[in-house]
């Protein structure tokens, strides 16, 4: 028995002792495989375990911590562990959501890495029976004035644009963060949301002995072999260009046209109830899809590798089983329905090949995944399906609070000298990300009431085939690695709080969150401590705000040259709007109105210190290069009250009522100074604010604050007082200057120009000369 073959990579050659290490399997893990099988694994079997037990697929370093997250609520239909989390949105409609990372592939090959990240997450969503209706992309790069970062940014954005636009799913938001820690290891996260009639919900499981496993979509090639183990589960070692180039074949290549037809074919198969289960092929390819569907269904599966359509000759069995070729799905079909399934696929020009059969799992024994060379041919491998998907070792990796933590906390940026001109620092912190999102179709399906650039995207709850509904959805992704590097626990809690507040600013009630935990090397005890703290912070905030965590992704080994990235937990939050008939006011101003700061940051517990902390603020880091100190306190009880109040206030106008809110923006990165300036440049209207004491108050990122523009000041403050929400009248709107008395005096035109041109002036230089 030989898993290698003609033209295969060098795993077949060589020495058993070293093979498992070359595949990324530790000595201990190899022994465990041997114990499970009761014999030595052959090369193919070892390759299957290597990919399925990789960090990326098995979460072996993070699972013990993830268990601490709250995952349940009455409206949660599917929680973590499936392809996507699903909530009941009412009116017979369910919403599926998932977030993932494609960091390492994008570092190596930015265009295809990002493109296939989009492709992969779409499949996770339509696997659940949902039509994908929105994508969001949080992106993190190094200094954008460096040529290599520009190449990465350009490639990643073009990859998302090229794939997402073509496949026909709008990209409605995201984030753009620059920090030197991402120089060698950019982060490319992608969130996807889909909608489905609740009764179409399907789970990725096999059932019915004798049913057929039908592989749909692309042929299988050598692209992406070992992507999860080679790329996603190790850092960039020496970081030499030659080494990175050598990893490039582990990046898959995407074909959005194939994916578009696959989506339509799969949704048609599900509508016609022609499949009993369906599963996408993503990381770890066919071995993952077959073992997971079998394990979830409590059955076994026989797979005939010779029946898998291939794109190149001479592929070894292990290559066919672990290839991450894109745009493939595995459908479980009854023999009686096969002809109809083939008809639907033919119409959509989607390839369909029977590659497996569901087999019995005798009582008390796990179903087996058996790999055949022809169903009547040789057995190439035989392992318990559940051992691959669920029996990966769980690691309680050592954790340690960084030794310099206290010293860094004590080094407070509050002592930094005040800026000579706060206005110039506001300009430094003001960047319009529309250079990115103008390259994304963010309007398809006629759902987008509020697109990218605001606090949260707002979409109609509508798609072809759904019951009619007046409801709407709000969606946001948020992260703050600066906060999290100072205090991963408090920083992550504040990130969740901000996400919930962004949802509220759109007039929606926060319903659920997903998370993408981007961290460094888990073998560094400080990184494990960060991860554990972040999970605890998320857990605290989610419990306090009644937010179930319905899915997540962990991306570890984000490091280069031995230096770990800042802890970067990304929170995706989903909110529900009861009645969406008018666009939410959004980040804007109207003339001759009053600006009111709603403020729950002082809370009920004594509040912030005075002056408020600048630790972890964009001002301290980006204007002064100071990354230490402590964060402002977060009072979750007060925050919860604020979220409810803001959500109800905005919802009145969104539902078609005479809303009291004319414009709204939460205070986050860059503090009040940047929030005010953004309101002004996005509307072209000036403002005059008084009573901001100093640069501490202007730039602090104390949580739980929202700026509201209203023409009905008395009504707003009366209602805030009644709701127990702190408030302060900041000033008025109008004119053509942004004035914060004693601190800032900028022309709106000047600020707008600076805001608009920052990114294009860096990035458009790359565009080749074009005919005019």
């Amino acid at each position: 028995m030989d898993a290698g073959g003609e033209g295969s990579q060098d795993v077949s050659a060589g020495d058993d002792q070293l093979l498992h290490r070359a595949l990324g399997v530790t000595d201990g893990e190899r022994d465990e495989v041997e114990a499970i099988l009761g014999r030595s694994p052959n090369h193919l079997e070892l390759a299957l375990f290597a990919v399925m037990w990789s960090e990326h697929c098995s979460y072996k370093s993070s699972r013990v911590h993830l268990k601490r997250l709250p995952t349940e609520a009455p409206h949660v239909l599917v929680g973590p562990g499936e392809n996507a989390g699903v909530i009941d949105a009412g009116d017979g409609i369910a919403v599926a959501i998932r977030i993932e990372s494609h960091n390492h592939p994008s570092a190596i090959e930015p265009h295809q890495g990002a493109a296939t990240g989009v492709g992969g997450i779409l499949r996770d969503i339509f696997t659940m029976g949902a039509r994908p209706i929105a994508v969001m992309d949080p992106l993190f790069f190094g200094d954008p004035s460096e040529a290599r970062q520009q190449w990465l940014i350009e490639g990643v954005v073009a990859g998302i644009s090229g794939y997402g636009n073509s496949v026909g799913v709008p990209t409605v938001g995201g984030e753009l963060t620059f920090d030197a820690c991402y120089t060698q290891n950019p982060l490319v996260n992608v969130l996807c949301m889909g909608v489905l009639p609740t009764d179409r919900l399907v789970l990725g499981q096999a059932s019915g002995v004798g049913n057929l496993a039908v592989l749909l979509g692309s042929s299988t090639g050598r692209d992406g072999i070992g992507g999860v183990s080679v790329l996603a589960s190790a850092g960039f070692g020496g970081g030499s260009d030659a080494e990175d180039a050598a990893k490039r074949p582990s990046v898959q290549v995407g074909d959005p046209y194939e994916e578009k037809r696959l989506i339509e074919a799969c949704l048609e198969l599900l509508d016609a109830k022609l499949v009993v289960g369906i599963q996408d092929l993503g990381g770890a390819g066919l071995v993952c899809a077959t073992s997971e569907t079998a394990a979830r269904g409590g059955v076994g599966m026989d797979v005939d590798v010779s029946a898998v359509p291939r794109r190149e000759p001479g592929m070894a069995a292990y290559e066919v089983m672990t290839s991450e070729s894109q745009e493939r799905m595995l459908a479980i079909v009854t023999p009686a329905d096969l002809a109809q399934v083939e008809d639907v696929c033919r119409r959509w020009e989607v390839r369909a090949a029977v590659v497996g059969r569901v087999t019995d799992a005798p009582v008390g024994t796990p179903g087996r995944l058996r790999i055949f060379d022809g169903f009547d041919g040789e057995v190439l491998g035989d392992v318990p399906a559940v051992a691959l998907s669920e029996d990966a070792p769980l690691y309680h990796r050592p954790m340690a609070r960084p030794g310099d933590h206290d010293a860094r906390a004590a080094d407070d940026p509050g002592a930094l000298p005040a800026p000579a001109d706060c206005g110039q620092d506001v300009l430094t912190l003001l960047t319009d990300p529309s250079w990115v999102y103008r390259q994304y179709d963010h309007q398809l399906f006629l759902n987008t009431a509020e697109g990218p650039g605001g606090d949260a995207a707002v979409l109609r709850l509508a798609a072809p085939g759904l019951p009619a509904s007046e409801r709407g959805l709000a969606l946001t992704t948020d992260s703050n690695p600066l906060w999290c590097s100072i205090d991963p626990r408090a920083g992550t809690a504040a990130t969740v709080a901000e996400a919930a507040l962004n949802i509220a600013c759109a007039g929606a009630t926060p319903m659920a969150v997903v998370n993408c935990l981007n961290f460094g090397n888990p073998e560094h005890p400080e990184v494990m401590w960060q991860l554990s703290e972040a999970i605890d912070g998320m857990s605290e905030a989610c419990l306090a705000l009644d937010l179930p965590v319905i899915g997540g992704n962990v991306s570890l080994y984000n490091e280069s040259f031995g230096a770990d990235i800042n802890p970067t937990p990304v929170i995706g939050a989903l909110g529900l709007i009861e009645r969406l008939t008018c666009r939410p006011p959004g980040v804007t101003l109207v003339d001759d109105a009053t600006l009111v700061l709603l403020d729950a940051s002082v809370g009920t517990t004594g509040g912030q210190r005075n002056p408020p902390s600048l630790g972890g603020s964009r001002w301290a880091v980006e204007c002064r290069g100071h990354r230490h100190g402590t964060l402002c306190a977060l009072d979750l009880t007060g925050h919860r009250r604020l979220v409810k109040f803001v959500s109800e206030l905005v919802a009145e106008g969104v539902a078609g009522g005479d809303g009291v809110v004319s414009g709204i923006h939460d205070v986050s990165g860059g503090g009040l100074g940047v929030a005010l300036a953004e309101l002004s440049v996005r509307s072209g209207i000036g403002l005059q604010v008084a009573g901001v004491a100093d640069h501490h108050e202007l730039f602090t990122e104390a949580p739980s604050r929202v700026v509201v523009c209203t023409t009905r000041r008395n009504e707003l403050v009366a209602r805030a007082a009644e709701a127990g929400v702190g408030f302060r009248v900041l000033g008025t709107t109008g004119g053509d200057r942004i004035v914060v008395e004693g601190l800032v005096d900028l022309g709106v035109a000047e600020a707008t120009e600076s805001w608009r041109t920052r990114l294009p002036s860096l990035l458009d230089e790359l565009a080749p000369a074009t005919p005019v």
Partner: protein, 229 residues
């Protein structure tokens, strides 16, 4: 009886439901026409919606023009039937030879999704019949290959025959003579890069697209107004 609008779908088309929804909201009925179908009988007008027909492989519209439905679309157009190509649909119509010129990559070589202002340049087309010349409309564009181009003779002909239907007020993509949409000599076939269906609901931020779609439905209902020579 409601007008019947056929919305042609190729594999890779993605704006078909949006186009259907927009005309349905204006009181028409709309049905999908599969690219493999050889007939468009019974429809009062056809829309070729946006998307990426056949993945835009080779170049946008290059493969779609060979789909069986295009013979039927060509016959329908030759008989005076109103045909509107939006975005990718415009690209398909130029590749099929139903409209002059071609759509090349945007100036700046990037995909552009943004709202533009376009000016109605003629009221003699199925899409602008009855709309005052000079009307400015805010309508989104969403394309990589939207940079309209043609040879000088064709441009002179388009101008002389009043066949430029829409121009951009601020040219976003490098189109020659700011052209956003053109029509054929018989004025019943119109192609445009902006997406009127994306400006068809106050929730989307603009309803200006309904000006064009309403004009289409009106000129279908009263054909004489549309084919003024």
């Amino acid at each position: 009886m409601a007008l019947r609008i056929g919305v042609v779908i190729f594999p890779g088309t993605n704006c078909e439901h949006d186009a259907m929804l927009a005309v349905q909201r204006l009181g028409a009925s709309a049905e999908l026409v599969w690219h493999g179908d050889g007939s468009v009988a019974g429809f009062d007008a056809l829309i070729l919606p946006g998307g990426f027909a056949h993945g835009d492989y080779l170049r946008p519209g290059a493969i779609a023009r060979f789909s069986p439905v295009m013979e039927a679309v060509t016959r329908f157009a030759a008989e005076g039937g109103p045909v509107v190509g939006i975005c990718n649909g415009f690209q398909v119509l130029t590749e099929a030879g139903l409209l002059p010129g071609a759509l090349q990559k945007n100036r700046g070589l990037r995909f552009l999704c943004t709202t533009t202002t376009v000016r109605v340049e003629t009221d003699r087309s199925v899409l602008t019949s009855g709309v005052p010349i000079g009307t400015e409309l805010r309508i989104p564009i969403n394309h990589f290959e939207g940079n309209y181009t043609c040879d000088p003779d064709t441009l002179a002909m388009l101008r002389a025959e009043d066949r430029v239907v829409l121009r951009y007020v601020e040219n976003p993509n490098g189109s020659i003579d700011d052209i956003a949409g053109v029509c054929n000599a018989a004025r019943n076939v119109v192609g445009l890069m902006p997406h009127p269906e994306r400006a068809s609901d106050p929730l989307l931020g603009s309803v200006d697209g309904t000006v064009l779609l309403t004009a289409l439905l009106t000129s279908v209902a009263t054909p004489a107004t549309a084919t003024v020579a």
